[in-house]
């Protein structure tokens, strides 16, 4: 008769405890899922709250992708005008469907309310500084890359740009189905929302189901705990149990023992070491990367003033950019083309005069010339060959693609990482500027014959080969 008791106890120990543990873990996992999801919703909700009652409508509209945001024009002229403005101002950093310097803009009108967008585009840093959590997140996510303010754009212009983006987003909606998997095209928000939309269950339902599941699990947990305590009590009342059985019924967890156990210590050390190695490696990768390097220059020359305000073309001073490897730091005689007459009294201009030995009163040059020692901002290692003419003249790239919003820099800083990964990435993504260049005719023909659906990128014509840059 008593022979069955051990089985019963075993049942208790072998099934219920593991079941409990399993359930506990399961619930943890679900909670984790739920949390990621709720962060998404919370972020939306949070900003919605901050945005005030007026934006609530837009926030809820976010769940229905087809609907346009209020105030965004949909007329063809507006979209066309928006396209012009977009191409002139935004393409340096943004694309609709892919992440370039800044996030992909597909569906941005659905992600964000219009007033927020207007504010952000006008001056993103104001929004970031105001502590707007979405903006701060975005700013951090993109390596604190400053989106230049577009104060020159009117509200209507921005709206037309948004209209253009919205129409492009809708156009892209069908192909997006296929593209959704590649995961490149978002600023982090779209994946959750977009993915849910594609799956046919809205995120809110998903949350409700999850919460329901968790509640069920917790109930099961409670029931099981109850069963255990009832059964333990029942067994403890029995007197025919030997010492061993009793011990196993009243087992208590010895935390001290767990903490001092070898596996536990091992796991802790492993985690610690992994983190240390990761931090160390990250640190090593940043050696020599001088992104943001902004040295003080001998003469306080402002690109913001010359290239930004007065819109002097870059090539006026950087004469070599279309024809040679180096873009050329302008020689002082180029400065003198204007500054022989302009701002002659400025102490900074006086420095040029001192270098070129010019006497502004007599308008004569002397022979005591001293070169200006600018501090190099962009330093590539000697082992890499980079040619400006190839990229600017042949490739047709804008200066800003690599040098960033140079027309807004009072003091020039290194905008891009200038790491090999950065170069390679661009070579992978950039389409060769082959149109009208007979050099590429045959290549283009071959490419279209073999691979008609994809653009001919630099990488596809050997742009990743070692000796294109290293020799």
């Amino acid at each position: 008769m008593f022979k069955k008791r051990p089985d019963f106890r075993n049942l208790l120990h072998l099934t219920i405890r593991p079941l409990l543990t399993g359930l506990f873990l399961l619930s943890l996992i679900f909670t984790a899922f739920a949390q990621t999801d709720t962060t998404a919703t919370a972020a939306q909700g949070g900003t919605d709250a901050a945005g005030g009652a007026a934006t609530d409508g837009a926030a809820t509209d976010g769940a229905t992708p087809a609907a346009g945001a209020a105030g965004i024009p949909t007329s063809d002229e507006a979209i066309a005008a928006g396209a012009t403005v977009f191409n002139a101002n935004c393409t340096v950093c943004h694309a609709i469907n892919s992440q370039v310097v800044g996030p992909a803009l597909k569906g941005v009108t659905e992600r964000r309310p219009l007033p927020w967008l207007l504010k952000f585009i006008h001056n993103s840093q104001d929004v970031v500084k105001s502590g707007d959590s979405y903006a701060v997140n975005l700013f951090n996510k993109f390596n604190k890359t400053v989106m230049p303010p577009f104060t020159s754009l009117s509200e209507d212009q921005i709206k037309s740009v948004l209209g253009y983006i919205q129409s492009e987003s809708n156009k892209a909606a069908a192909p997006a189905q296929a593209a959704a998997g590649d995961g490149t095209a978002t600023d982090g928000q779209q994946a959750g929302g977009g993915g849910a939309a594609v799956g046919g269950i809205s995120s809110q339902y998903f949350t409700i189901i999850l919460v329901g599941l968790i509640i069920v699990l917790v109930l099961i947990l409670l029931v099981l705990i109850l069963i255990i305590s009832v059964m333990s009590r029942f067994l403890n009342q029995r007197t025919d149990l030997d010492e061993e059985d009793r011990e196993s019924i009243n087992r208590t967890t010895n935390y001290r023992k767990i903490v001092t156990s070898t596996p536990f210590i091992g796991i802790i050390i492993f985690i610690f070491l992994s983190i240390a190695v990761k931090v160390g490696l990250d640190g090593l990768y940043s050696i020599g990367v001088q992104q943001g390097y902004m040295p003080k220059q001998p003469i306080a020359y402002s690109h913001e003033l010359h290239a930004g305000k007065y819109e002097i073309p870059c090539q006026y001073c950087h004469t070599g950019v279309m024809k040679s490897k180096s873009a050329n730091i302008p020689s002082a005689n180029i400065c003198m083309n204007c500054h022989q007459q302009i701002k002659t009294e400025s102490p900074e201009i006086q420095k040029i005069y001192a270098a070129i030995d010019f006497n502004p009163e007599t308008q004569t040059y002397g022979n005591n010339k001293k070169p200006i020692q600018w501090v190099r901002v962009h330093n590539l290692p000697d082992l890499v060959y980079f040619n400006h003419a190839q990229h600017v003249k042949v490739g047709g790239l804008e200066c800003q693609t690599c040098h960033g919003p140079i027309q807004e820099m009072p003091v020039v800083y290194q905008y891009s990482k200038l790491t090999m990964g950065w170069c390679i990435n661009c070579h992978r993504e950039t389409q060769v500027n082959a149109k009208g260049n007979a050099y590429y005719d045959k290549l283009l023909e071959l490419h279209e014959a073999s691979n008609p659906n994809e653009p001919m990128t630099v990488a596809s014509i050997g742009g990743l080969e070692c000796s294109k840059c290293h020799y």
């Binding site: 050696i287 002082a332 005689n333 020692q373 501090v375 330093n379 082992l383 003249k393 042949v394 020799y471």
Partner: protein, 1031 residues
Amino acid sequence: MKNNKRYWKGIEELQNDPELVKRADREFSELLPIKDNGKGDSRRDFLKLMGFGISAATLAACEAPIRKAIPYIVKPVDVDPTIPNYYASTYIDGGDYCSIVVKTREGRPIKINGNDFSQVTYGGTNAQVQASVLSLYDKQRLEGPVAKGKAVSWDDLDQTISQQLRGAGGRIAVVSYTVLSPSTQAAIGEFTSAYAGAKHVMYDPQPADGILAANKSMFGKAVLPSYDFSKADVIVSFGADFLGTWISPITYAKQYSKTRKVSKDKKTMSRHYQFESNLSLTGANADYRAGIRASQEGLVLGQLYNLISAKTGGSNANFSKIATVPHLNKAAGDLLSARGKSLVVSGSNDPAVQMLVNQINQLLGNYGQTLDMDRPSYFRRGSSTAMENLIKDMQAGRVGAVIFYNCNPAYDFFAGNQLQDAMSKVKVKISTADKIDETTLLADYIAPDHHYLESWNDASPRQGSFSLAQPAIMPIFDTRQAQSTLLTWAGSPETDYYDYLSGRWRQSLFSSQSVEKDFDRFWDKALYDGALENTGVSLLETASGEIAYANTNVPVDATSLAGTINSAYKADNVGVELVLYQKIGIGSGRQANNPWLQEMPDPITKACWDNYLTIPQSMGNEMDIETKEGFTGMVNLTINGQTHKLPVVVQPGQAPGTVGLALGYGRTKAGKVADKLGVNAYPMVGKVNGNFAFFNASDVKVENADESYKIAQTQTHETYMGRESIIQDTVLAEYKEDPKAGRFEFKVETYEGKEDPEDVSLWHGHKYPNHHWTMAIDLTSCIGCSACTVSCQVENNVAVVGKAEVVNRREMHWLRIDRYYSSDAAEDLDAMEIASANPEVTFQPMLCQHCNNAPCETVCPVLATTHSTEGLNQMTYNRCIGTRYCANNCPYKVRRFNWFKYHDNEQFADVNVAMNTDLGKMVLNPDVTVRARGVMEKCSFCIQRIQLGKLEAKKQGRRPDDDDVNTACAEACPTDAILFGDRNNPDSAISKLLNDEQEGRAYHVLQELRVMPNVYYLTKIRNKDQEETNA
């Protein structure tokens, strides 16, 4: 038949030296250089260094150094940073001449190419011209004028010297090498006419007294004829190394190569006989070559004269009898059947011998055809006799002042050792040398001249041909053009040499032409082209005046000639004679301080950084000289009562009874690179008929010194283990019948029958959609001159490693020239001696073959060497970790490993000057990385030029053509043996050539390995008769 021919690269290989065999299968002959500073670093030191290194690297990484960008203050209009500018100019070094184009970057000359507009050098260059750009950045150059050991200002110097010259008393002499420049000649003329009794004396380290005297006697003009080897079907040369060092080798090599090119449509080539003592570069290229004693050259020529005159109606003369020289009868027969289309030349300095040569050429009707006396050339105008007389005058105290215009007679004149004594009798001694040399050391005043790349000048290498030299850089130091200096001291109204030069051109050359109306346009065009041809103007002849070119009068008739020759040349084969020669790289020794030339292996011996005695195998055996891999013996050479201890090189092809020694070594005051390297052979010169001869047959003794010597020879390095598909050659007669004659075609046995190795491969192969860079090297055209080796070194910043490291087989040349001897198989020792007596020679430039199935690529653990979509085997230095697997796996042994940091390293500062001083670094090509220690490097097909050429084409929106891309080696080649281009471009020269030759002469070295190189070789064809191939 063909299979019993055997190729060997050195005596060691022929003898199967056990040391060589042991090393042959190793890629790296030495183990890791653990003790490279001699102190013996221990493992503990290594760990210490490691520890320090890591912490230092971490610290260093925290703060990047601040780099400055310093633009021009006023940018010159035509200088754009990073865009090279090219200036046509002229290389003049005494009588050595080359019309050149100088490549400058940011105002610094960094590379010299040939000028295609020149009708004298036809766009060719040689190793010395290529390397001369480094001498511009020689740290040993003088930084300003010097008076009695103290730096002074130019004004002070001018004042002192003007006074001194006026008060000198006695004659004033201006001493120079041959002056090729009419304007310089005129400037010297202004000086000599300003001082009463002043005279200009020219001499040459490699004089042509013999030719000049013979021509003066025969034609009344002491000039060199203009030779035209391209018109000669039969060339017979007696000791004239016209492809390497004789008079104007670039000109002759270009002309020679034109007659030697064969193709589908031209199956003829000239036939070349060479009779000489040392195996010269020219002899190595001859179809038939025979070794003769230099002391019998006159008699051999006498024999030839009699053979020719017997058939052409000349008068026979009675020359002393000597044993019949092989091939001489055949040569005479060929000459006779090619009358008016043949050429006989001799390197002798004896007027009697040269007169005999003239007579032979006259009998053959070659004047006006292959020799032009109406448009003579001016490469050699110096007179050894005049120089000897000057030294006598100096010794007698008849000379009051002497000015050495950029010459160094104390070293490179045959009687230069008397100069020191003679100079003590001269009151005013002035030199215009740009660095301290043996002669300048004896001078009181130094008025340093510009380097030729900093100078204005003109040159007239040949009557009617002119070229301009223009500065390619601002003067680096406080130097002044020597012509200006002379004009200043002459009190001339025009002291600026540029104005003087252009003024003279306006007067003479501009006024004698009618094409250009405006002088500035005429001048600009001449300056742009660099060369002005066929002007019909002669500016040099009159200036030379009445100079005695020989100590004896030269008889014109054959009988008296025979008398003169019989008295001076010995018929007996007794004794040892020393034959002096110039090396391709070092030449007369003027550029001896140039490490690129010192490190360039001699094309024949493959030894560098050394002067050694070349001896025939028979002599080596007699003296029991032991030559082992890397080691050789020493001998005592006794000559003129002086004994010199010298290393020997047993030289196949060295005529029995002769030993060879190079001039240009044993400098005492050349600079850190050349000082105390070898012995000075100039004083060892002999005399024949009272004139300097390039040999000495009187009382020469060679004895074994019983010492071992480490010699830096590169040849037996990297052997091919006797495989047969490396050199493929044939004779013209067979080629005419079968364009594939001589080809070794390897076939793979498969179940489907025999197939080409290329068709049986595990690899999928590469696709080359864009470009397919390919090179073809014509072994028939390649003369082994090594201009390509130096050109590659300049272009690609290849380090110089110095003698000790070459001994360790760590030379860095990306392009080497393998020299193979071939002879019939020799199995026993006796037969071997016959084999090496006079072998055939084949040169094979060997560089990275850019294999399509590259063995190196598959073994690199870090993907540092990869294949490009343009057919290039790319080497990425920054990825290389130095395992050297690739070099181990390379069947061509063309990968070079940086065993040391050669730049900015005290240990190599003396030899690798281009990477160790701020001045030297100015010569580096900024487009090519200077490699660090521990990485592999190799030929890149001049990828920087490919990229640049492509970019130029892209900028203009077109495909690149042959003019856009060329490698440095192909560009430098004086015989157009190397052709480079895009195989995918049907219009490129390489496509056309290979389409023709694919089923003909083109082959891959080691085809059986199926590595499918992108470098093709075209079989070597010798113009021999068929029946003699087995002889």
